[in-house]
Symmetry: C2
Subunit: 75 residues, 2 copies
């Protein structure tokens, strides 16, 4: 499921940049350790749904929009 | 974020029953420990996105449909 973590990380990074936020901003605003935010964006960690919601709140988007469709992962 | 785990657990249970599966079926098919499946459905654990995808695959639904809207959680 490595593809999954990478796909989510890419979506988070894309959305974060679109909002004009740095990784530090995202870390501070979500209460997630800054090095962990980096690992999330690189797809190195398998995040919990709770962290997904915290990140989505900061990025002002619906959590579901940060998830790739299941079909997209195995194509 | 207790509300979140409970809301996800309820959605999983609802979908599982709609598919005519027991908790044991879901555990076996998803490769998740059966007692853990019970804890997920009761909202006692904060699951990873990877487990959410495994469960959604077994329940033949899009993972996003198992997530409550953020607005729904704080109403």
């Amino acid at each position: 499921m490595d593809h999954l973590a990478k796909a989510i990380g890419e979506r988070i990074r894309h959305r974060r940049k679109a909002r004009g936020l740095s990784q530090d901003d995202l870390a501070l605003l979500s209460g997630i350790d800054r090095s962990y935010v980096g690992r999330i964006e690189r797809g190195e960690v398998n995040i919990t749904v709770e962290k997904l919601y915290r990140i989505a709140t900061v990025l002002a988007c619906d959590p579901a929009t940060l998830l790739p469709a299941a079909t997209e992962l195995y194509s």
